[in-house]
Assembly symmetry: C2
Homo-oligomer: 448 residues x 2
Amino acid sequence: MNPLTSPLLTDLYQLTMLQAYFAHGMLDTAAFELFVRKLPGTRNFLMAAGLEQALEFLEQLHFEEAELAWLEQSGLFRGDFLDRLRKLRFTGDVHAMPEGTLFFPNEPIVRVVASMPEAQLVESRLLNLVHFQTAVASKAARSVLVAPGKLLVDFGLRRAHGAEAGLLAARASYIAGFSGTATVLAAPLFGIPIFGTMAHSFVQAHDDEVAAFERFASACPANTVFLIDTYDTETAARKVVALAPRLQEAGIATRGVRLDSGDLGALSRSVRRILDEGGLQRATIFASGNLDEYRLRDLLASGSPIDGFGVGTSLVTSADAPFLDAVYKLQEYAGVPRRKRSAGKATWPGRKQVHRHFRDDGTLDHDVVTLESEERPGSRLLAPVMLGGKRVASVPGIHSLRADAALCLAALPSSLRGLEQPAVPYRVEISPELRELAAQVDKKTGKP
Amino acid sequence: MNPLTSPLLTDLYQLTMLQAYFAHGMLDTAAFELFVRKLPGTRNFLMAAGLEQALEFLEQLHFEEAELAWLEQSGLFRGDFLDRLRKLRFTGDVHAMPEGTLFFPNEPIVRVVASMPEAQLVESRLLNLVHFQTAVASKAARSVLVAPGKLLVDFGLRRAHGAEAGLLAARASYIAGFSGTATVLAAPLFGIPIFGTMAHSFVQAHDDEVAAFERFASACPANTVFLIDTYDTETAARKVVALAPRLQEAGIATRGVRLDSGDLGALSRSVRRILDEGGLQRATIFASGNLDEYRLRDLLASGSPIDGFGVGTSLVTSADAPFLDAVYKLQEYAGVPRRKRSAGKATWPGRKQVHRHFRDDGTLDHDVVTLESEERPGSRLLAPVMLGGKRVASVPGIHSLRADAALCLAALPSSLRGLEQPAVPYRVEISPELRELAAQVDKKTGKP
């Protein structure tokens, strides 16, 4: 059983539901939509991500014999149901916003239209994939906005929530505009640029810091960014200056230094001075250590001469909003619009579309959530990506996704670009037709 | 390349370090220790977890030809280095606290002693595995402490950070004392009990709520926990009461109901009354929906008659402490103790042991962090689990780990059992011998 692709990567109730659907012949077409109910207080917008992995999951969906055998011996399911599972594939349609698209509460970002069992079974893993990458892309975009032109590198693997989280965080943050990641496997898997410097343990393993720098430079001459905070940052910066001419003679350029602790603002200034006075004006300063977009903003606002940042834990765990209120809800079954009215969790019924309106300067003005069938002005954000279980277009490369995401970010109005909540949130209207449909559905299922 | 076991699941700088270690023949024995520098404000203790997966990773560590080929064509590494990687296996020793052990800041929970390249390469994935499961076990233990005797089920897969996070969160929370998980794949992979009820979409797919309940009961007669909040909770509870005799005639018992929204305290009381008055005194009430240990505590303190809880997002993301300050640091190389002195990140040098002292009533009194070599009273918490790359003992089963974890939790002093910070934190002493060693190391590497 493959822990990343198994159809058992689902909640038990999905399988019990499926048994009931099959038992009662409820195989009509269902439309589910994936959306976020509300923004965390620490996000002014969200960036869609994770569609590629969601589509891969749908394309390969099938039960292996070992999985069916396990289900059988669990005693929880009937033999005839397991025969249905053996034949089950995803044969439905998917509409979605492209990865990198900015979106807001109550706007569907993925719509799945399929036979009820197919559409129901995939809920848990679809949400799992899209929710996480969306959370990370949305977090990463904030660093990209506050540190334009800086080298931003994902350093988060070690504190990501497992290996898949580390890999997908590298992917989502790259799409959102990061320069790359330290996670090696993200390069062969996703084609993301990788970056790295040196570790404290390497310095510590030497009795002498200069010896450590020198050995590192001779073993990795193209990668001479020296980590200078193991003992005393300024002292080590002077050692780098003293070492540089010797390296130069050996044909090795001193590319830069990395700070990883202490007062990064003050240290970056004193280290810059030491490097400049020592003739290393072209050596860059890279900073890391408990960084997030707030620290980046404050460091840059105070004029810290830092050229690049390693952002780790806070990015890959989306630490100030470690989850979004993302859900996947039934909006239509057997041609009839459906609506959940649970307290605080009501949904808009039917298959929907999002129409985006721009200002003359190209920035976002407002969105209207409509029925899919409505003819209306504004760019339609959801497009078909899978029909009858097959993709409708070739997969966009990750660099192209990143370029498109940059265009999306460029269209953000200034009110949403900061780290604090805007005075007026972005306007998302619900079309009169959609409101009318909700009222009709309520009338039919009783009580308003 | 397997995204869960590949040695490329590492930071680029680990590989560049390795190239330098090999180039300069720095293959002496290194001792690294994994520990947490400080507690989040929302944790009074931590529970170690994830060792099993860490040892599996070490046991199978090797580079596949496809990985070596990718490294070669990346142009970042030398041919002779890649030959060394081809032969690399983990052949070192590991000492660790058993999973389920409670621990505190600066206490090593895993020690890796191996040739420098082996010990360095594994840092990223080892931390990734142990950090996450420890974070979740520590979070889960808080729910276990405030809701003794209640059914606690992990509902978090959909908002976990990827599939591995969902699976490992199910495992870590089960070890910490949860009753099981909704994630099906956790059952065949780890032997964890699985639980599930029904979904809103199933109710919504029917025009009539009672018809939905009836069909669900007939398809899954052993699993009749009805979800009653899709439209109106109390109305639906009355429908369940009215339906129960009919199900009874068909030989189907009504096991219970699930609440998933609204004021769970008030609703649980009114629903309990409706069920009791309707003759369903034995039907249980299960609650879910944005729950965490604070809500559990408050609901139970107010006397809510809830028998079980589904805890999802907050658990699997450890939402109020989505990361721990967990690190893996070089403490000794080539027989010489090492220490990092970076501002705010200094470490205690040498191979260490944790001695735990208990009170007469069996509860924890205090710990002493010592050098491994010190003979001292108190239980030694770190024991050998791998020698020369091979496990020293058979793998304890998950139910046995869970039973041991329960004993650990039972030994928690009352001051640490609540959700708020204790007036006095748990006492962790540093032995005089260890302090003396740190002073010696400082003297040798210059400046105090």
